[in-house]
Symmetry: C2
Subunit: 303 residues, 2 copies
């Protein structure tokens, strides 16, 4: 089960009733935040969720509407009695950004580790989530993220019995451990069925539509994608600013066929994103114009 | 006429219905901001005021709840088409802070100048406002600010006529200029009455109660003062964290006798500041527990 909340839907700047775009992912007691613009800590508090379990923060790029909330977010995490280290992942140059952030928030009761993404694509395994950063196309270096949870095959007790595997090894084998017992070696493959369908979420902003997004989001359970402009005639502006229109986003949806798709990162000039959904649904129907605080619980098929 | 708005009343961190403490002062078309924590730009937008005329930002100290909103505030000022330079005034070390702020907000269409305050007290004349920073007592270097507008004496046409001052010099003399006309020198004192009562606002946070606050706020039109805690028994905590209780603030009011006094910078644990006003009013009656967006227009006596 993955709990997903879109804390805000704004682009460029926070507005009185629209926080900037940021995604919170909860899995198995751990939380992960993607992007942290000004006010993200308030948006999180409005949802009533805890700051303490946020182990990881992924940054798409270094524009202020995606990073300016970090100093306050860290301080509030500190006030929630967190002492375990936090890991920040982001583009090359993160070291310089973190120095700036720590100048504004110098005293924290936990360590802040960071990882600068290497190359066009890199995968991390954190808290049971497989996180893949992949390059997209903005006016500065920018990555989108695929967050996947894999699902092992079902444990087959009959097979375990047939192979005379001692009962005490069943649990560790089920967890994926390999066990050596004297001369015998037991592997998970001996008792687990085929890998079952996992869960996959892709978060893509700020970017032009590039093929990598649809490739990563293929059959995803949720694609969160920017749709900066909705009204007709904004294609040129979208190209110039290296953003995309809602209709361009819908085309990615059509290619990738995600089960759910949320548009976000609306231009401050876009007051009612809903009103352009007709043209969006004509391209791909499974899209909504997400609202601040939009939530979904993604479940494994047999959950 | 001075227009004053307290954009927020929170201390430590912004909350869903409480922005962090920040004061906006408008005088003669120019705006001045004191402190700029996370979300201050949203608070300003809620009030419907313009970002463009903010020429000056005063910082009391470098805790994040007073500075973390600067990158976003600057960017939004940039989006309001401002091209004139902005001046930031704050404690020594401001250069380092501004480097951090400019790392998060690197591209602005205006210059950002800054002045590190020298010594325990320093006065600046900006946009017709006399701004005095004076040292107070927090756990890092911190200044309070007195903002005064002086009021020249009334122009006395009869005296100007009696002294046979040519009519074309009346306006410049009224503005305070000295004029040399051949052998004769005309000075403002020749035509202006005694200096009239001006306007004075003092803003003091975060600090222990120190005599300088009451000295500067003596007979002020408005004293904005922190009152971090209200409930009984918080004196020790206030001393430890170098803050003050509402009752300690009221004692400053009693000493300084400001016409208006606003408490602010409430602890996040202080949900209803109003409920402690009984004990505050017993010490000094002219105090209110300010609310977010609290406003006042201060007028000259003869305005």
């Amino acid at each position: 089960m993955l709990d997903i909340t879109l804390l805000g839907t704004g682009g460029m700047m926070p507005l009185p009733r629209r926080w900037v775009t940021s995604l919170l992912v909860r899995y198995n007691g751990a939380s992960l935040l993607v992007d942290c613009g000004e006010g993200t800590q308030i948006a999180l508090r409005e949802k009533g969720w805890s700051f303490k379990p946020v182990n990881t923060i992924l940054l798409t790029h270094f524009h202020a509407d995606h990073i300016a909330g970090l100093p306050g977010f860290f301080l509030t995490m500190g006030n929630s009695d967190r002492t375990e280290p936090v890991t920040v992942i982001g583009p090359r140059g993160l070291s310089r950004i973190m120095t700036a952030v720590r100048t504004i928030a110098p005293e924290l009761p936990f360590e802040v580790n960071f990882i600068e993404i290497d190359g066009n694509e890199q995968t991390f395994l954190i808290d049971g989530m497989e996180i893949t950063a992949f390059r997209v196309q903005h006016n500065i270096v920018c990555y989108a993220y695929e967050i996947s949870v894999r699902r092992k095959g079902r444990f087959d007790a009959a097979r375990a019995k047939a192979q005379e595997i001692p009962l005490r090894f069943w649990n560790p084998l089920q967890r994926g451990e390999t066990i050596e017992d004297g001369a015998r070696i037991y592997t998970p493959e001996m008792v687990l069925g085929e890998e079952r369908k996992g869960l996959k979420v892709v978060y893509a902003t700020d970017t032009r539509p590039v093929p990598a997004i649809a490739e990563h989001a293929l059959n995803a359970d949720l694609l969160v994608c920017e749709g900066m402009y909705g009204e007709p005639g904004m294609d040129k502006k979208a190209r110039e600013h290296r953003h995309m229109t809602m209709q361009e986003a819908a085309q990615i949806g059509k290619d990738a066929q995600p089960v759910n798709m949320w548009l976000t990162h609306y231009s401050p000039s876009l007051v009612r994103p809903d009103q352009y959904m007709g043209s969006v649904h004509a391209i791909y129907p499974n899209v909504i114009a997400a609202k601040d605080g939009q939530e979904i619980t993604l479940k494994f098929e047999d959950e």
